[in-house]
């Protein structure tokens, strides 16, 4: 299996993370994975949705959108057309993933954490890039909230990252890009913890069903990919200790 730029089957694309790109949200990250570029921002608003009122909890919600020219053919801006259904599905995936690693209970004042993910350029893997980027932005925001005294202790309970895996000619491929995406037999997205625990999994084999063994191989590859992301973060981001200083770090293939 030969991939663009001599990438190995078990190798993620070059990763670049820039923090502090926006001044107003509590945490923001520009995550680039190959040509895919997503901007993730975390902010707080007062109050919670009606179904949660008076439970002394916070809420976390996510929204994902594509800029009109983020794709090869311009897509209609979502603000004009009716809500894009694919974006709805992805927004829900991001929200569930982040809620699985944060403790929202026992708060005196009700607040909602907003995760806003905007895709600047879409070359495959935008939803998993957003989960990873949003997690880092949430980490940065948590530090700010701790420093300002808004929260007394950390809320984040585990670390997650996400990656996609495809199968082409029966071979699993890590982190498929857009051109690969259109030729693979199956495409799965994995949101995993640092230790490989499954937080969210979602995928389909539109071309033809895959076997249990193939699915296991995909899972293994996903764990490998998430490991590569954490190694990069550990090396370059110093455990997120820099709060919203503008830093740009790249993992080159």
């Amino acid at each position: 299996m030969k991939r663009a730029k001599n990438r190995a089957c078990d190798q993620i694309r070059p990763l670049r993370i820039t923090t502090g790109i926006m001044e107003y949200p509590d945490g923001s990250v520009l995550l680039e994975l190959g040509k895919t570029k997503v901007l993730c921002a975390v902010s707080l608003t007062h109050g919670v949705p009606i179904f949660l009122r008076n439970k002394k909890k916070w809420w976390l919600t996510a929204s994902y959108a594509l800029l009109p020219t983020s794709t090869k053919s311009r897509i209609e801006r979502e603000s004009i057309a009716r809500r894009n259904e694919r974006s709805v599905e992805i927004s829900r995936l991001i929200g569930r993933s982040l809620r699985s690693v944060i403790d929202l209970h026992d708060k005196s004042v009700e607040k909602t954490i907003h995760i806003d993910c905007d895709v600047i350029q879409a070359d495959g893997g935008t939803r998993t890039a957003c989960v990873t980027g949003a997690f880092i932005a949430l980490k940065l925001a948590e530090q700010r909230w701790l420093q300002s005294g808004l929260i007394a202790e950390p809320m984040i309970t585990d670390e997650i990252a996400a990656i996609s895996v495809g199968i082409k000619d029966c071979t699993p491929l890590l982190d498929i890009d857009f051109s690969e995406d259109s030729t693979v037999q199956a495409d799965f997205n994995f949101v995993l913890t640092r230790t490989g625990g499954v937080v969210e999994m979602q995928g389909s084999a539109e071309q033809s069903p895959i076997t249990g063994d193939q699915f296991e191989a995909m899972q293994d590859l996903a764990r490998e990919g998430v490991q590569q992301i954490f190694v990069f973060l550990d090396t370059e981001m110093l455990s997120f200790s820099t709060v919203n200083q503008s830093i740009t770090k790249a993992l080159t293939a």
Copy 2:
């Protein structure tokens, strides 16, 4: 692990299938799984979406909706409020699942197959019940299209069924109902072929991440559940040979 009505951990709820409940669609199924009741109908309209025009293909699209009183607390009718985001996500899941086992190419006249799934009563597992019910309704519709000469040969390329699996106190539970759903640690939905091939998988561990082994056990249980569905269908529905005769068949626990 003790379940309601002495159900075993690896046992699906009583299944009942009624065909021919609607006269106008080409295939229709009322599928009941315990207290969950879904109505699935298959119909055809002329034409395909813009992005598919002039490719001599058909298209298949699905939509899922809850009746207002299908849930314990009445929900707003989707026609009045803005589109329910959970329904959007599920509609896409159903559509992808069915498209994975149907050959839509090489058609002289462009048509769209509509899969309409309406939940009459929601007691957990509605999305997987809809996939299974929709597949049976599609089988019935295919027979009608073959008999009328609309299509010359079968379009369906494989057989699928779907089931959910939860994990509670580290034990996997097959086909969880609503009361179980609110206490499980993780909830996964599997769309599998008769031979166990993975067509679609989607789930999350909102309470706490699950291990690879746990996930594997869930998969095994899902295969077991899908097997139970196929045994029921084979025994009771005579390989779908009755075209839209009104039959009601039940698998009792």
Copy 3:
């Protein structure tokens, strides 16, 4: 005038009523009138619309919708397209009809009664079928509210049923079905009390105007039809004394 299945001009179609089909609403009825099938459910929510607040009243509102495949040609699901104007008109008719026979005053806690009518199959007369079905479901719900102590005394002040009448070749026809509907000169819907009092009337003569005498004949026929419905209910439903037991009763022609 010869009608399908040798039905007389003053005869309603076979009627079948199934109660208790849904577990969560306070009252539910599947009403079948010939091939027309409507599902009517009654439920309560907290609060009232803004214009009624702090008046110690309840409110009653109704909504009517067609399932996509309830008609010969599939119709767009209302949740996706903009609200269907015909459904808006019918929802208002159902709501006004039910409000005319219920006393909503003098309540300590403000609540809204929702009447949800979903058409499973449309073969003419769906709006009148919904009024009749909704009235029966409301009766069942009232009994449940009385038994649970939610209300201290009955709220329903009169009994209603509804039926349509058409005119074809100057002859009035009771309870016209879809194939008759497309050929009649005029089509009127009557909501009447058991004693023949007029609660709501709505109709048009799109083909050509009708005379006062013809209109009077239509009214008489409507009273006859409503009488047939009440006789059936009295005989078969034991004055609604069975609260949400699943019973199926049919009036055959």
Copy 4:
């Protein structure tokens, strides 16, 4: 029964009709009935709705809207909020009424007649005022189309006018105004031909059901009211022979 301004029970309010108030539509009428003021305009656009294409027919559609300050308490402009349901119902009533007296068949070029009714001031009876005003505007438009050669012969097949009737303390009242409307037991709207034929009828007895005799008395009163309108039109409008000359004619009580 004593009414405002010593009006008799069988007397309509002062009527005033001003034609030619708008320059661009093919026919326009400002109709004032007491304090109720409605502006009705008739115009043409190319093409017909999809369901009518290639049938060599025209289509006629109506829309009704309230200006924000036409009511005692300002109402939200319909363009901002979602479509007002009462306006939907009334728009359909107007459209059906007008379609019942116009022959839309056998046209070489497909066109749609638009009836736009805007309520300047609402003091009861706006929907019937709009039917009457729209009919006069359609007459004027028909003359213009005949004169310009757009149509070769008249399309209007009958003459209609509309009026409301209420029942208060068992007495029928012709043409009730807003203050009466809130106290009546029943409120019916009649669209009748010059000779008293029924074209459309719609009403409800929200307070308490009415008897057949009462309904007959209401019908008689409606015929009387429509007669008063036609006498006024015959006397003052010279059988609509003036095409869009600006004339203002009043019937004073």
Copy 5:
């Protein structure tokens, strides 16, 4: 430069103002400028938008809409289609203009002033006609509020009127009508105080850029036009001393 009806380049079209045309709003004006006719109404509702709550202020908001047949080709009613973008832009212009000459501070009860502008006939200059008409209606409303004791002292702090100016063949033209509008090189709208102060200015040179000198000439002409409006108002409307008496006054060319 020869204009229709021998109008001079620095002359506004015949102006006609009718007050008291609507009974329910606190102030209403029908302003006619040539063939352009706009209806402006001022009313009050309780409360203010969320961002202003608890600041002891009133709010003023404006909305502008075209009647469907106000233009040469019928336009879709805004209530059905999505909000017209041009109308949004103009609504904001009207709102800002009026807010610049009213003191909304220091109120005990929060209220919102609604300025509703509906275009009956559009022959160019509707947005400036609406600003002028709305200002007069606001003056009338202010008098009513003072007389009823709702406010203790005047809120309006200055007087404004508005007019458009175009440039054709390098010559500035005052108050261009629709036929001129389609041929001018630039089209600017000026909202000015009686003494010529600039309150709002908005315009574009879509055909080709204009020089600073040309722009100055346009400004001078606008001041001239606004002067003509104020002279008319001073002469005919007696400083707005007549509160909502129905008067019609015309300035003929």
Copy 6:
């Protein structure tokens, strides 16, 4: 008048322009003006709006939107809530400005140029920043179209840039930022050609009207500001000769 960072009253904020930030649109620019950051992209789609069909013309349309966290308090994403009215107004301003300097006539194949402006960070002056950024992106796109042979000769007929001017304590201030914006008496936006010709002007004096002299001073300042922008572009961007090479150039105060 003392400004932040010792900026002079007639000095624009530091300007930075980065091209080639997006791969798919034909031209893209990230323009930073102080803390204000806007992303402008130019792309083409087939076809033109209905009102322009078969006129052998292209069309140019613009859309402006704020990212949710671009402002100090997070704003609702436009895709979920209804369209933001301020964004509608600004989109129209950008579209008109760009259309005034491009020749869209005499094209064989109808196409629409889309100008998409997304605000990453809003610190005042976003609408003028977008006009300037969009113009540069359009220049880059034009070069690409020329090189690919899509167009035979340049379409852009003039050069524009835009800047805002405020008045504070009677002193005009060039390029006001957000904190200044909330204290100024008036705020005007100028779109000017390189030679100072007026293309679009739009502004208001919400606090108190301004005199003609003040307005003239604002215009002069705007010409000065646009001059500063063009000097920067001439020096740093080599007359736009680099087609979508990623370059970042900054004008520091």
